[in-house]
């Protein structure tokens, strides 16, 4: 014996079947009407109102962040964004992570660990740094490319490793460079403080004592 539980909201199966036959044509019609209405509503609310509202709030409360965290120099020239790393190859600047796009846009190497091309790239970068400072192990962050190709930061230890090289190129005391690095290091809650390479290099250029090159 089956336990039959009547449900007031739902008509019996025969009634449903009859109703479905009658309304078969109009069912398509109302499905299309509903689809248009839902699409229109979603477009107005989620596609227009929501991003515009967030833009308004963002521009009002956090204008600097909303517009890309832009950095200008003393002549009001746009030099970059605090969030986007830049390519540094000149001596006297700190280097950031290797980038698959040379910091032109977002890109990763997408090379597999087993790919000989990746091993060759890493060995080449390693050779460069090992030649600069044969006395120290090379920081991993300077031989492995980042995920974004625009990674703005390196670990504090990776920056301090480069401090003597930067100091020699600029002919300034290592201690002063190290002090600047320490001053700009940010605690993030991750294992190690990180340093924004662009801001560090901009600080080097604007510092009266360190800017001598």
């Amino acid at each position: 014996m089956t336990i039959h539980t009547p449900c007031e909201q739902n008509p019996s199966s025969e009634a449903v079947a009859a109703q479905t036959t009658i309304e078969h044509g109009s069912r398509w019609h109302s499905a299309i009407k509903t689809a248009f209405a839902l699409w229109l509503l979603a477009t107005v609310v989620c596609g227009l109102a929501y991003p515009l509202l967030m833009t308004g709030i963002g521009q009002l409360l956090f204008p600097w962040q909303s517009n890309g965290s832009l950095l200008f120099d003393s002549q009001h020239r746009l030099r970059g964004s605090a969030l986007l790393g830049q390519q540094f190859s000149a001596a006297g600047y700190f280097h950031g992570r290797p980038s698959a796009s040379d910091y032109k846009n977002g890109a990763a190497s997408n090379l597999a660990q087993s790919n000989p091309a990746l091993v060759a790239e890493i060995r080449q970068r390693y050779a460069y740094w090992h030649q600069q400072r044969p006395d120290q192990p090379v920081p991993s962050q300077l031989v492995y490319a980042s995920a974004s190709g625009l990674d703005p930061e390196i670990d504090l230890s990776t920056a301090l490793y480069q401090a003597p090289l930067v100091a020699t190129a600029r002919q300034v005391p290592v201690a002063d460079v190290e002090a600047l690095v320490q001053q700009l290091a940010q605690r993030t809650g991750r294992e190690e403080p990180i340093v924004n390479v662009l801001q560090l290099n901009m600080a080097l250029d604007t510092d009266e004592l360190l800017s001598v090159r």
């Binding site: 970059g80 597999a112 190709g149």
Partner: protein
């Protein structure tokens, strides 16, 4: 040098904090989800819509499906048109041309099906209008579509002798307005504060310190990134997704975005418990999913902390695999994101899966191949998991020689047939379509890595498309016309090849009268059932793909010295 003990302590704290933020709200959120779909009084807008569009009756599963398919088809047509025509439309400061037909097809399918596979790079290909009105809108409604299907299935299991599974229009409306939109508003605000751009400026050219030029992109990014994380969409505003410093600038933005991946999928597990008025059922599924998630995470944490044997001769400062990972996130938080995004069919990335170590790359691949039900997509994860639950119940019924029943509903041939149709979509999309393209096209031309990893890239692309995940071994040259078409087809099979059977099962179960539980039945909340369910998942989900996994990632790992 840093103290390694300190190193592991703070990273572990970060991982635990994100897991807590993602999973602990699940019981509360589950109650909220149940409430908004069942007990909320219709607000004034819904009342007006219901009046105009005649939503007074509840729908049987066929009507529900019809409304869903018509709505998704309309969304596809309009998005496809928008992407083709963007060159002639406003809010396009970079004067980007319309997409090619095959790329527009792939992208439109991708966003309507909640896959959000990116065969394009957002900042180079899409106008702000296409991002907002096209992809942004689909981020909301494709997520709400998946949630609606899950709710229909929950009702099917919970209702007694009923012919209705709810109304698609109402369910879609409520999912967007009472769940996705409020959470997105909050998350977007924090993301802007943390540095995610939200503007309509043209791209700026900066004079770099080294004497070069750098383009600084803009756009309404924060609003879109918030919903792409919450709705398990995963399609980035920028090409490199949440690894881009504009898309995910800080540790806090990473913490919230990463937690947002699992937030709603985990909530849906407990919502199911409310529907069937048995919290233990939800807890059992929650435990199964969490265990599989943590297993994958463990493998990733181990594999990404090891130096590649090919680099053993180098004197490096640490043994971590930093390739394709960002300094601000570090290794552990990249591993966590990878585990979560592949478990949840989100598909956003904060590290590049292609450059994971060989064993590490196996984890997201297996998570996807299991069928995206370790929490899974919003709604989609739960309806996928319930298919496996029905199969596990059926198998256990056969073992003990009783008519199988789940929560009082007899599981009969009709339900199992439909469930098998749904399960066959994965091998169909991945193995059949994947090998078909290998025959039609030139495999060497689309893979960027030699050897077994090239096969893994191929496998990952078709798994990601069919599983509606959207992440990639991104060296795979997805933008080719043939790949655009066939990957688009794989996404359609993976999405609607599951939704149609799920709604059919929902309708079939709803019409059944429950029978009293008998002592001879295996309870579906105990440890024995959890073990049986996990076993069914591994057998039915992964065994199909065992040979190709051996030839791809496993061969790669074993070939290293």
């Amino acid at each position: 040098m840093t103290n390694p003990a300190f190193l592991s302590l703070t990273s572990t704290a970060g991982v635990l904090l994100i897991l807590a933020l993602a999973l602990l709200p699940a019981p509360l959120l589950g109650r909220w989800i149940h409430r908004i779909y069942e007990h909320h009084r219709a607000d004034i807008v819904e009342q007006r819509l219901a009046h105009w569009l005649d939503w007074s009756e509840q729908q049987n599963w066929r009507s529900y499906l019809l409304y869903l398919l018509v709505f998704n088809l309309l969304c596809f047509v309009l998005l496809f048109t928008l992407l083709l025509a963007q060159g002639h439309l406003p809010l396009n400061p970079q004067h980007l041309p319309g997409l090619s037909a095959d790329l527009a097809f792939n992208t439109a399918v991708s966003f309507v099906s909640n896959t959000n596979w990116q065969a394009y790079s957002g900042e180079d290909s899409l106008s702000y209008l296409s991002q907002m009105l096209g992809l942004g809108v689909q981020n909301f409604v494709s997520a709400a579509t998946g949630m609606a299907v899950a709710i229909a299935l929950f009702r099917g299991i919970a209702r007694r002798s009923s012919h209705s599974v709810g109304h698609f229009g109402r369910d879609l409306y409520r999912g967007v307005v009472y769940l996705l939109l409020p959470l997105s508003l909050l998350l977007a605000l924090v993301l802007i504060w943390q540095g995610v751009p939200q503007n309509f400026n043209a791209y700026l050219s900066a004079s770099t310190l080294d004497g070069g030029q750098q383009w600084i992109p803009g756009g309404p990014a924060a609003s879109q990134i918030a919903i792409k994380q919450l709705g398990t969409n995963g399609g980035g505003f920028f090409g490199v997704n949440s690894a881009h410093p504009f898309e995910n600038p800080t540790l806090l933005s990473n913490l919230l975005q990463c937690a947002a991946i699992l937030l709603i999928p985990a909530g849906f597990v407990f919502a199911f418990g409310h529907y069937v008025r048995d919290r233990r059922q939800a807890v059992a599924l929650f435990i199964t999913m969490s265990a599989l998630l943590l297993l994958g995470l463990g493998v990733l944490l181990w594999s990404e902390g090891r130096l590649s044997p090919l680099l053993a001769s180098l004197q490096l400062s640490d043994s971590l695999n930093w390739e394709g990972k960002e300094s601000r996130f570090g290794i552990d938080l990249s591993a966590l994101w990878t585990a979560m995004t592949s478990a949840a069919s989100n598909g956003s990335v904060n590290a590049m899966h292609d450059s994971l170590s060989a064993w590490g790359g196996l984890v997201p691949l297996v998570n996807i191949l299991l069928g995206e039900m370790i929490f899974g997509g919003v709604g989609a994860g739960m309806y996928g998991m319930l298919l496996f639950v029905l199969l596990a119940v059926f198998l256990s019924g056969l073992m003990i020689g009783r008519t199988p029943a789940y929560l009082g509903k007899k599981i009969e041939a009709r339900e199992i047939q439909w469930a098998l149709v749904a399960l066959l979509t994965m091998p169909l999309g991945i193995l059949v379509l994947g090998s078909l393209t290998a025959l039609l096209g030139d495999p060497q031309a689309v893979t960027s890595n030699p050897g077994p990893h090239g096969l893994s890239q191929w496998l990952y692309a078709y798994a990601s498309a069919t599983g509606n995940n959207g992440s990639a071994f991104a060296g795979f040259a997805a933008g080719q016309p043939l790949q655009n078409m066939l990957l688009g087809l794989a996404m359609l099979i993976g999405r609607y090849g599951v939704i149609i059977p799920v709604l059919a099962i929902a309708g079939s179960l709803a019409s059944k009268a429950p029978r009293a539980a008998s002592a001879a039945e295996l309870p579906t909340h105990g440890p024995l059932f959890i073990a049986l369910l996990t076993l069914s998942l591994c057998l039915l989900g992964a065994l199909n793909f065992f040979p190709v996994l051996m030839m791809g990632p496993v061969a790669e790992a074993l070939s290293l010295p």
